[in-house]
Subunit: 294 residues, 2 copies
């Protein structure tokens, strides 16, 4: 249980509701900042302004997945007010107070460092990335069905990368009856691709291997789909780039050639906000329980 633990949640989207629900069940004391339009009454949670929070008793600060803007503001879909977390808020917190956020820009990192607050980047954790790969793969399936005029079943599909997302995506499309090949570089990954019943290829051969595919799904955060690779692809091929911004596709060239290519980071919050919220809620609850009973 998190009885006696004081958590400040600042801003966010539908995913935050699952986190509030979970922490409320665990008996945490929750200060909700930027939730003025939220109807639900959660036990142990109270709506506050940033300046009303008793910062000296705060054990943990929860920011949205997107963290903080470069201007220092925090987004909330539940409020029209600008939320500006300031250095003096953080400085008033006890030493052990930890900031949990999806990602952190330099401004947030600097502010946390100056206030001596530990920062946990949830989206960099392997467990979160693997759980999130499930709604990501389902989002890719949805987009593939929407944006092609053929079935996934029997379609020729190339997945680039067998990381935390690539493995889930490859397995998902294989399960739907597609002919899936997967590009990787390391020999142990090529072995794993083979073990999974998929067709492996070395990323050095990407250009040749993509000439016959109907759909290419990239998960590698590097310029792998260069103009030279794109130039040889079939005109009807659809390209889904799941790598973090700016992705791995030469989008200027793909547009010029008339190839349909989309950069779609952040699918979990889009296609399954409730599941995506639960994923974060479970991991956060574990981390806070560890922090409470070290």
């Amino acid at each position: 249980m998190l009885t006696g633990i004081h958590v400040v949640m600042i801003g966010g989207d539908a995913r935050q509701l699952e986190i509030i629900r979970k922490l409320s069940t665990l008996d945490a004391k929750i200060s909700l900042v930027g939730f003025t339009q939220l109807d639900d009454g959660f036990i142990g949670a109270s709506k506050q302004d940033l300046d009303e929070v008793m910062w000296e008793s705060v054990d943990a600060i929860l920011l949205p997945i997107g963290g903080m803007s470069t201007e220092g503001t925090i987004n909330s879909v539940f409020s029209n007010k600008t939320l500006a977390l300031e250095a003096n808020h953080l400085k008033a917190t006890p030493d052990h107070c930890t900031i949990y956020t999806g990602i952190a820009n330099d401004r947030l990192k600097r502010m946390a460092e100056q206030a001596n607050c530990d920062t946990v980047l949830l989206m960099e954790r392997d467990d979160v990335a693997i759980y999130n790969s499930i709604p990501t793969a389902e989002g890719a399936v949805m987009l593939a069905i929407q944006h092609t005029d053929i079935t996934i079943h029997q379609a020729k599909i190339a997945v680039l990368g067998l990381g935390r997302v690539g493995m889930t995506v490859a397995r998902t499309f294989q399960a739907l009856g597609a002919k899936v090949k997967v590009g990787a570089r390391d020999s142990h990954l090529l072995a794993r691709i083979t073990e999974m019943g998929l067709t492996p290829f070395h990323t050095d051969d990407t250009k040749k291997e993509l000439t016959d595919v109907d759909l290419c799904i990239n998960t590698i955060p590097a310029k792998v789909l260069t103009s030279s690779v794109l130039a040889e692809m079939q005109q009807h091929a659809f390209i889904l780039d799941l790598a973090s911004k700016p992705g791995g596709v030469d989008f200027a060239y793909s547009e010029k050639r008339g190839l349909k290519a989309m950069l779609v980071p952040g699918l979990p919050g889009m296609v399954a906000p409730k599941t995506a919220g639960k994923i974060l809620a479970n991991v956060l609850a574990d981390l806070l329980l560890e922090q409470a009973q070290p």
Copy 2:
């Protein structure tokens, strides 16, 4: 080959393009009626009006999947003109001339009978129904991802019916990691559901079995989701009705209760027109080859 075989194609949608392509490859002579806006030049195909067709040499007439309206007109997405097939057109054809259509209403059946033309209903064929179940299941996956806030993975799903569509739908959602139970009546179907690693239940228990599901997919063309069944379902449950019109759901009641329920027949032409066209083209080509070389 279909050399010397004269086929008249009247109206249709994107699926017809695959049929024209296939029959053109097989060297058939094709009269295209209602394709004025079609750019592609296909070898052996010529655009004609209904009154220009040399009906006395016609071996086969291809109508769209929807067949003929009750007013006797035929739809075409490639023309703005009204296409009205008349009895005297059919009467001018030779005895062996066969009409191929998706479905047929009474007007078309009567007209064909009076002209002594055999009629083949493609959508009633088992092979077409099973091939079409693939894009249908993918369409169901797309709608399930779009209309729920959870992942299919680990969702509780009930499929009603293990017919040509139900089996594909159950297997597809199972492959995506859902917890799938399937309702059927016959003992051999309950055995098959068990063999497939799915959870079987008797349709007599539908009411009880649907109380805990996140998603229910109906494939049974009878009123199975009555108000009494719907009344006990979870408020967030999503209902997809794939049975032919009018479906198996009491939609008036589901709307009253605020349950999200959709009747979606005709998914193949919507989500994968090219594949759906190829399915028809392959079956049609086989049937015409049989007719040509009995």
